[in-house]
Subunit: 189 residues, 2 copies
């Protein structure tokens, strides 16, 4: 593993724990087992190190493919699949989310981190529209319901992100299944 890699991984780890401002370049270098000079020689600045790290380690989910190939047009099955895909994507980018959400001056970098949710919203809206034209969904505002679905899962993700000790004792999967059931009953004719 070369110096650049070690530095980027160390930066992500530390910044996810204590924030961009909360970690010094000296500490990142030490955690990477590398001299601080190497950090500046490779990246020029602390901010650039973070940018390059996000660029490289932002997990790029291929959601389009899932929507094209794995849907069954059974609302329950599909929503469960989509929900799982959402959380897998978000979990993989967990640390990056923590970093960019934790510092308002990093708002510019949020663009990248929120690319997938936006894409998913688009795909999900299309899915609901198609389901309605197949007569498997009630007449409703497809985009509004897609956003509701996204919000529910976004809230679930962030509540776990910010409060490791959950507000409830219920297992995550159980709430997830209840919510799928809710959408299925609520949107099926």
């Amino acid at each position: 593993m070369d110096s650049r890699t070690k530095l980027m991984l160390a930066a992500i780890d530390r910044m996810a724990e204590r924030g961009y401002k909360g970690v010094s370049t000296k500490e990142i270098a030490a955690a990477a087992g590398v001299s601080e000079m190497t950090l500046f020689r490779q990246f020029g600045s602390k901010m650039n190190l973070l940018e390059k790290a996000i660029e490289r380690y932002h997990y790029a989910a291929e959601m389009t493919q899932v929507f094209e190939e794995r849907l069954t047009w059974n609302l329950r099955e599909d929503l469960l699949l989509i929900g799982r895909m959402y959380h897998e994507t978000m979990d993989r980018n967990r640390k990056l989310f923590l970093i960019v959400l934790g510092d308002n001056e990093l708002a510019g970098l949020r663009e990248q981190a929120q690319k997938h949710p936006r894409k998913l919203l688009e795909l999900l809206t299309g899915y609901f529209t198609e389901m309605r034209s197949r007569g498997k969904l009630i007449e409703t505002d497809a985009e509004a319901q897609a956003i509701a679905f996204m919000w529910l899962h976004y809230g679930a993700f962030l509540s776990r992100l910010f409060a490791p000790s959950s507000i409830t004792s219920l297992p995550f999967s159980e709430v997830m299944e209840s919510s799928v059931e809710l959408f299925a009953r609520g949107l099926t004719p």
Copy 2:
């Protein structure tokens, strides 16, 4: 307005914008129109200033009262009322949320900020249980559905908090009504 008040308000404003670490005591004092010495004489430390500010300006919603007096036992009406109450509470505490969520070292202070969501979850679970015993709700896990409702609104709140320019063009109220409709259809026998 005395010095303490001016300092606490200035601290909340600045910290909500640029984070706890992003604002200096000198800047807070200047924004309050007060000398930096006054800050330390009144609060002793930067952290204590924030703690006292949260203590004093955390909006304490009286949700129990709403649940006792304003419910109509019409699912649609009640969920709309509860959703509105949730967002009003969260909006009032918006800045405090931004501060404590933005800095992981402030995790201890999150307790206070998350008191209301926890209380609301409890009340909502009770409401769903009562509705079921009145035969107005399907057989379902009341707590799981309450959490789903909370997550949906938590996600809505945070997505507005972190991304002022929304991911969608739909007005907030419209999604809110769609989601109430979703719950009403999904949970009514």
